[in-house]
Symmetry: none
DNA sequence: GATGAATGAGGGTTCATTCAT
DNA sequence: AATGAATGAACCCTCATTCAT
């Protein structure tokens, strides 16, 4: 059982993470200062260093749980066998987009490794690993959807699919609309995009077959 | 006719813009210092303030000509009637991608209005106008390609297409490969993406027709 | 008789002193942090403040016993009547040098009163007293060595002798060699220095006698 | 001819150097902050960075000219053939001591390379070179003084001599007396030290001869 | 028109120290 | 007796910007 002190400590840490998350998302990693985070978290800026080695560590501790949560959600959807593969693909797409929009330009950090230094492979690797796993998951569902072998073509299809999602994100991640409103308004368009792609993929396959 | 002094003055300005453009593209807006630009431009850092109100003004003055150049190039391709509409669409896509990659994180600035200030609407609007024109141009070529009316569906197709391009960009704009190498390696994939989309669009249209 | 608690308490204090001593000696007063000491002492950094008013107090409490130990060792050597006076002088020199080198930059603190505060005269005075006693002891042995009266000349000889030792120390106290290695390598040189001085002293005396 | 601006600039730089010199000498390199220097120099702390890359650069720019000046003075004395070698040696000693005392614990910096990092050899090397040259110069004069070959023994004598000087310095460099007063009071003692050493050296040589 | 000099605000980080438990 | 949490002061350093020339 936790003592009151421990509880307070965890609260502080939580508040720091929360403040940092919000600020990073709003302004981008580089543009947020430690003092700014501290202010929003309601503690001294030095307190942050009690819980995180440095600014970058804060970022990584912040990203990993979110990403892991995302991955689990996507995995769950991919396993729903009550849905058709195409429905699963759409579900995954929606979830992915919604998550990334909710975390706005944190998305940059997650997927573009914006703030990683080449000489520090460890933390980067973990994120990269997750990124790859998410990509692999999408590829898997896409394969189910198209009933095709796991070949070079599937890889390229997956890339195209991945581009599409990221394109949606980068197009909308700076808008100042609230997420639910945005999702409501654009979900049909997003769904259409997925549909188009699937149609295109299938057509491409049948073309290949006819060659 | 310009006096010699005026000429020199314009040269300096041009060099500042050139240096800033290169640096912003290479390192991103925030990571470039005024002194760095001045050094590359071969002038004092204070000189920059003679021509530009502040760092941000420099950025905006910088974006417009580039974007205009891009627009003209895209327009040119769209008018090449020796090419099939699909070839034109591919050409435009390649050009657009290459341009944005070459200007790397500038892309953020151009298309995501990252650094716009609320109090200065003018430049922002101009950029937005161009952005919309580029979008319209793509839509036009897409329409030619699909021989369809200019309706809601075309609009959504265009969005999907636009997403795809931006997705490619956001996926690759942080890689440390040189542009030519990158383009060589990924052009087939990019082309495939465009193909898939067109196939998907056509299929969607024929589905609609059969309803 | 001490209660178990008292015993534990003293142990902790002892460990703090030991850790601080080692660290100060190795890295210098300023470069050692309280937390570092606590870590090496196996306690929390706040515990240190239970036993010592502040960092400086720790330093002073630390210096005295060491210096006293040194003094006792030197005294012991000075009383070894199995040795010739010259051998005693050499022994004292070696011991003194070794001690100071082992305590490296602590030497600064001990002998140069680097970190003394004006408002707290007590500890400083004690250190000064010990310093003077060590000096007096060397003077005594030097007198035995030279069979001369305790006059102005002896005082100056003692100073010269003291300078020599300190010169050796200040020359070598920053080297990164281990003490035993260093001593082994340079002991002959140190011994030579002492010899030279004694020869010089004797010669000076005989010159004086002939005047 | 210098413009007024250039003149002012040089003045500022000079004042920074002067302030830094005094403070380093008084408190030691590590214990002096950039802001402290700026305050004493009457400028903003950022101004310091206009003239010096960083704190360490300031230190090195500060040390080199002084050291070079010292070296030239010592060299000059060593070449005065109106003086006996012994007089030259005494002169050199006095000059060296006076210089080092005037620069108080800067002496630490000069001769103990306190603040040098191993990875930056350049500046350290220059100082080391000068240090060695000064040592070589003393050795030369000592050789003239003793009319002996340049052998191992001479090297050890030089070391002993060098220790003696440094011993004097380290003994007195923390006192709060003014230099002229100090020199006046202790010069006879310093001279005596040199005398003693020379006598000792000569005696040692004659001993060797008789073996 | 152009520039070197100078600055204040702010960046991340470390530290000795205090407080509540 | 002992500790983890927390803090303010201070560290070096960089920046965009202004001022006098």
């Amino acid at each position: 059982m936790k003592s009151r002190q421990e509880q307070r400590s965890e609260e502080t840490k939580e508040q720091i993470l929360k403040a940092a998350g919000t600020l990073f998302a709003k302004k981008g990693f580089d543009s947020v200062s430690i003092r700014e985070i501290a202010k929003d978290a309601g503690c001294s800026h030095t307190t942050i260093y009690l819980y995180f080695k440095d600014k970058e560590a804060l970022l990584h501790q912040l990203s990993m749980p979110s990403l892991e949560r995302l991955y689990k959600q996507l995995l769950q959807i991919s396993l729903m066998d009550t849905l058709t593969p195409e429905a699963r693909l759409k579900g995954i797409s929606r979830e992915y987009i919604q998550f990334c929009l909710e975390n706005r330009n944190m998305f940059d950090v997650f997927f573009n490794a914006k703030s990683t230094r080449v000489d520090e492979l460890e933390p980067e690797l973990e994120i990269n690993k997750l990124r790859l796993e998410i990509f692999a998951l999408m590829k898997q569902v896409l394969q189910d959807c198209l009933s095709m072998p796991d070949d070079e073509l599937l890889l390229n299809f997956s890339r195209t699919f991945y581009y599409q999602l990221n394109g949606i994100l980068s197009t909308y991640s700076y808008l100042h609309e609230s997420i639910p409103v945005l999702m409501k308004r654009l979900e049909p368009t997003f769904d259409l995009s997925v549909e188009i792609l699937i149609l295109g993929f299938k057509e491409k396959i049948s073309q290949k077959g006819n060659e």
